[in-house]
């Protein structure tokens, strides 16, 4: 039984895992990133328009429109959950934001006091209405996220069923508050709103800037805070997380709230680009968002995922869509192709993990 005392440990039986067998190189995200690079090269030769500044801006803007929500849903997917209500949440937040904005700016509306110059009091402070209305939109998402989190973490309902219900509830509420009509951002702050959502800084679309900031924040949170560590632990082994004293209920509620807020923010940005928040906005976007996350390497069984994967997934979807348009292929093929890519991406990862 006596073992030789050796310190520090010498690793005679345990080989070192090589750099290409760990981290991003051994992940689905890595392979999909490679596939994306290949696709970009192919696109460059297939169409002279692909790498033009205009088209690049277009691509950057378009994928940013689902990427922020994808970051949010990636949090949920890492814990082993799912959020199907992101599409409805986008619409509802956007709708609340533009309705509050219009309402607070409208003279004669019952909620506001008039100032001497015939505008509402709030409208005399530039940006105040914008701030309040965006907070209102995000607040609506926050509440829905809290309800999701409470039902899943405290009541123990299945994430799939809970968020499927929330998909319907929130979409329904959107129709109720708007009476089925769209709402439009209006009032004195509408210009700021459009500048913040569909403007650009030195040719870089604003949504893309938000995306980069949020993705970097997410990377730090996931890999360098104990909250992030707990999110991964929850997806890896929920029972272990509980036994080691991780506040499982709190972490779960937090990820659903983060996801809802990301979706809300995404919806508000999209409505700025559309110039309105129609009641059927972002219909079935949850499927694109989840597809992007999964293609980028988030594992629906939990425990794996990250911001880079989420963005790579979104870019890949957008480049394919853009490529099909440039190649003058019927855009109806897009959906079919997306489905094929989801299965291929997961398949390649499966083959890889069998080989090692």
């Amino acid at each position: 039984m006596a073992m030789p005392l050796e310190s520090p440990i010498s690793f005679t039986n345990v080989g070192k895992i090589r750099w290409w067998q760990r981290g991003i190189f051994a992940s689905q995200t890595g392979y999909v990133l490679l596939a994306l690079a290949v696709l970009l090269v192919i696109m460059h030769f297939a169409s002279p328009y692909f790498f033009t500044q205009g088209n690049m801006q277009n691509v950057a803007k378009n994928f940013s429109f689902i990427a922020i929500a994808t970051l949010g849903v990636t949090f949920v997917i890492i814990t082993g959950g799912i959020d199907l209500s992101v599409g409805s949440m986008m619409c509802f937040s956007a709708m609340i934001t533009s309705m509050v904005m219009t309402e607070l700016s409208a003279p004669g509306s019952p909620l506001v006091h008039m100032a001497a110059d015939g505008k509402t009091v709030l409208a005399n402070v530039p940006g105040l209405i914008l701030l309040i209305s965006i907070l209102a939109g995000l607040g609506a998402a926050l509440i829905a996220g809290l309800v999701n989190g409470f039902c899943i973490a405290v009541l123990g309902l299945s994430p799939f069923v809970t968020t499927l219900g929330m998909l319907s509830i929130v979409r329904g509420l959107g129709y109720v508050v708007s009476n089925g009509r769209g709402s439009f951002p209006g009032g004195p702050d509408a210009d700021y709103f459009y500048a913040l959502t569909s403007g650009d800084v030195l040719g870089v679309p604003a949504p893309f800037i938000y995306l980069v900031i949020l993705a970097l924040t997410m990377a730090v949170v996931l890999h360098h805070t104990s909250f992030g560590r707990h999110v991964f632990a929850l997806g890896g082994n929920e029972k272990a997380a509980e036994l080691t004293g991780i506040p499982v209920v709190r972490v779960k509620i937090e990820v659903y709230v983060i996801c809802a807020l990301a979706a809300g923010l995404q919806g508000i940005i999209i409505s700025g680009w559309l110039g309105s928040a129609p009641a059927n906005m972002a219909m079935s976007y949850e499927l694109n968002v989840i597809a992007a996350a999964v293609i980028g390497g988030a594992n629906l069984a939990g425990g794996i995922g990250g911001p880079l994967g989420a963005i790579v997934g979104c870019v890949l979807l957008e480049v394919i869509r853009n490529g099909l348009v440039l190649a003058q292929v019927s855009s109806y093929w897009q959906q079919t192709l997306v489905g094929v890519i989801i299965i291929l991406a997961v398949l390649v990862d499966r083959v890889r993990s069998r080989m090692t």
Binding site: V14, H224, F232, A240
Partner: protein, 252 residues
């Protein structure tokens, strides 16, 4: 057995537990001293795991008193038991295999560094402390490797290293040798010796007679919710223990 400490690290008096009409445990007295390895044996349904769960804070006992290092304790949650120095190595090890060895060791009590209002994980400190612990346990385990890529013995080392983090005084191990290879069993028994050397009391719950006789100082046999035997390992034999477990011999 009693070195300088005259007080047992764990002392149970008259512990009983009922689940409705079912009497899972009845009047169990037991003492565990520092640096002692006690084997807890018994057939399925004998009350071993109920006893372990009471000590670990998963259940509250219906009757009886529990003293830890001389003072009476009442646990409402597993975290309470951990706070006084009782650690459990669960049968399924409670590891998240998508995380690294170091991350698992520090799960739930990560080391952090403050940068103003935000606290970020201190990866370096955790990795070097984990490496130290693996060294103490003489396990060839790299802190930065994913648990998914590890052998059964290494996983055990990670789970045991976790208990060393807080300088636990009592470590309970639930079937640590049930599902691993012969060579790894040797490693795990070695790990138990390491704990013993450091004055930690170990309670080994096992079905495997050879393992119990290889490392334990004392064996406690449970049957039908009662303690039937509590003997020094030198005063008993595998045959006698088997007879006690099956009921061929009522008590000893």
């Amino acid at each position: 057995m009693t070195k300088t400490d005259a007080t047992p690290v764990l002392e149970l008096t008259g512990i009983g537990k009922e689940f409705g009409a079912i009497r899972a445990l009845h009047d169990v007295d037991m003492q565990v001293w520092p640096g002692e390895v006690v084997g807890l044996m018994g057939d399925n349904g004998a009350g071993k795991s109920t006893l372990v769960k009471i000590i670990a804070g998963n259940f509250r006992p219906t009757h009886g008193e529990m003293r830890f290092a001389g003072s009476a304790v009442h646990f409402n949650r597993p975290v309470d038991a951990r706070a006084v120095g009782i650690e459990v190595v669960y049968q399924d090890l409670a590891l998240a295999d998508n995380l690294t060895a170091a991350a698992n060791v520090f799960l739930g009590r990560e080391l952090k560094r403050r940068f103003g209002p935000i606290a970020l994980l201190d990866h370096k400190a955790m990795a070097s402390r984990a490496l130290e612990l693996f060294g103490e346990l003489r396990s060839e385990t790299r802190p930065d490797d994913l648990v998914r890529q590890m052998s059964g013995g290494q996983r055990q080392a990670v789970a045991i290293a976790r208990t060393r983090l807080s300088n636990a005084r009592l470590v309970m191990m639930d079937e640590p040798t049930a599902a691993i290879s012969v060579r790894q069993v040797e490693q795990v028994l070695g790990l138990i010796h390491r704990l013993k050397e450091q004055g930690v009391a170990v309670m080994l719950i096992s079905h495997r007679m050879p393992d119990v006789f290889a490392v334990c100082d004392r064996v406690v046999v449970m049957r039908r919710g009662e303690k039937r035997a509590d003997k020094s390992i030198h005063q008993t034999s595998p045959e006698e223990v088997t007879a006690l477990i099956t009921g061929a011999k009522e008590a000893a």
